[in-house]
């Protein structure tokens, strides 16, 4: 194999690039205590990891949509379609307790369930959960039946209603398939944080914490151990990877 040597040197380069990217990420210096390291090239996502997020609702500001804008930019979601046909991978939901009147605001996105209903109902297996807990749509075999959108209790999924041309090369997406928050899997695999988490930090709110729920030493695991957190629609026992604090 004549290409063996260049291939290896390329891999070495990739590893350095990943580390460099992680270093750049720390530079803004906003609450990025924990930055995952890039997975080496050629290595599969690990079952020992479970990526998750903790949203501190008390820090989330009503009217702030930094996470939404960052997501739209990162994944090239901008469109001229009407609001109910436009894709939204993350949205800000303003809540008001019906009995007490307490108001709160929080970001809502794919909750990356341990037992995702979208995966159960998908006829072709296009909806699937990666070993590290990220729920994704394999657009290569998605036939666009939208059954997963009917099944998702969080209304986290969108359907691509139009032909697309301006995709981010790292985020392929196209007409006729269903899609949702990927937890910025293309960034996470490089050791970066999801775009929404980074944007929230840059805004100075740092309401979203990203990390490995399975790693007892991680910031997110420690927080979940020490403060009261909740799962949305916990009654359904889907064990989402996104947790909320202060609902």
């Amino acid at each position: 194999m004549s290409d063996k040597t260049p291939n290896q040197s390329r891999r070495a380069f990739v590893a350095t690039a990943g580390a460099a990217a992680a270093g750049v990420m720390i530079a803004p210096g906003v609450h990025l205590i924990e930055v995952a390291s890039a997975r080496p090239a050629g290595e599969a996502a690990s079952r020992t990891v479970r990526w998750g997020m903790l949203v501190d609702v008390t820090k989330c500001q009503e009217g702030c949509t930094a996470c939404v804008s960052a997501c739209n930019k990162e994944n090239a979601l901008e469109t001229a379609l009407p609001q109910n046909q436009a894709p939204q991978w993350i949205r800000k939901v303003d809540l008001k307790d019906k009995s007490t009147g307490r108001a709160l605001s929080l970001p809502m996105m794919c909750q990356h369930c341990e037992k995702p209903p979208c995966v159960d109902v998908c006829p072709t297996g296009a909806s699937f959960k990666r070993a590290d807990g990220i729920v994704l749509v394999d657009r290569h075999i998605c036939i666009g039946c939208r059954y997963c959108m009917m099944a998702c209790p969080y209304k986290a999924r969108s359907f691509v209603h139009e032909t697309l041309e301006n995709q981010n090369p790292e985020v392929p997406r196209g007409k006729g398939c269903v899609e949702a928050c990927t937890m910025c899997v293309h960034r996470v695999d490089k050791g970066q944080q999801p775009a929404c988490v980074q944007a929230c930090g840059a805004e100075g709110h740092a309401a979203i914490l990203f990390g490995d729920l399975n790693d007892g030493a991680s910031e997110i695991a420690k927080r979940i151990r020490s403060v009261a957190t909740s799962q949305v629609r916990a009654d359904l026992q889907l064990n989402p990877g996104v947790r909320y604090q202060g609902i």
Binding site: Q88, K92, V93, D120, V121, I143, G144, V232
Partner: protein, 398 residues
Amino acid sequence: MRDTFQRIEERSFYALVVFGLLLVMVGLGAVYYMEEHGHAVTGMNNQVVWGMPHVFAIFLITAASGVLNVASIGSVFGKPVYKARAPLSGLLSLTMLAGGLMVLMLDLGRPDRVIIAATHYNLTSVFAWNAILYPGLFGIVGVYIWTMMDHSMKAYSKIAGFSAFIWRFILTTGTGSIFGFLVARQAYQSAVLAPMFIVMSFAWGLAVFLLVQSSMYLWNGVALPPPIQRRMTRLLGIFIAGALYFVLVYHMTNLYFSRQEAFEHFILLDGGIFPILFWGGFVLLGSILPLALLLHPELGGRRATILASLLVIFGALCHLYVFIIGGEVYPLDIFPGFSAASTFGDGVVGQYAPSLPEFLLGIGGLALAFVATVIGVRILRFMPQDDFTILTGGKNVH
């Protein structure tokens, strides 16, 4: 006399086929338009993900399974009157299933990839079960019709009929379960849905059967013997009442759960078009009025049967619209106890205005079933042939 009994008149046959094919073509044109531009040109959106095509498709598929009931009563329960109608019942089942599947598949986001539904199975998915159940029904009913038409195969007719009887029960359970297993949406997640769909399929299937049978007799200038007529219309009456009963049970159980009260209030009282379609379309025009037409001692004749059957079909479409679209527009209760607002339809009733191409696709599916039925009836002996000697008297036929 037998000849006129079997044959639709030549010219009107071709006229009907051309008319049906035109509608199919228009439907396919609508599909091309929707696929070219994406679902942006339909009324469907991220809240109402299944629209008008699904109303037609689910009607056709449900009725396709229910119409087999006629054959089952004949073969499984050995009633000669129904046995004579088994071939037509099988044909209608096949053609309506074809029409329904056409609509369902062509409304996919990627209809060009429909083959994937056959190469990649996710066995936990009710949809994937259906991808086995629907072609299975084609095969079984096809064989069943063969055993009935070919005298050398007569011996297998009973077992084929029984298989079709079982298969169709599973199939309708599967159709009902598409919705029954959806925990997310308020309208669904109920075990009542599977039996409800089975009883509705009886009523809708028999209505279609009676409509087709009456039309065939009418064109051939013959009349159904009154005893058979009475028996079949009474059966339709029972099925209509059964379907109405199940729909009431479904809403009553929902009303019992306080978390479902707001949803029921929406569907039954203040949800705009939905209560109108439910009470006016399904209950009054689609159930009560046909019941009166069928069971009233003075009525119940041929014309009353045709009218009642048409009303039942209309009511079925109304009910499915309320069930599917109404169930979707109602916002998900993601945060119980809170009122919600967002840019993604949280806390507000979704908007859905069916677009013309969606209608045309649905009509195209109906037209495909129609054309296939007309051709089938023309080339094979599907016209019910009664052995009148065992009935109350052959004199009733002309």
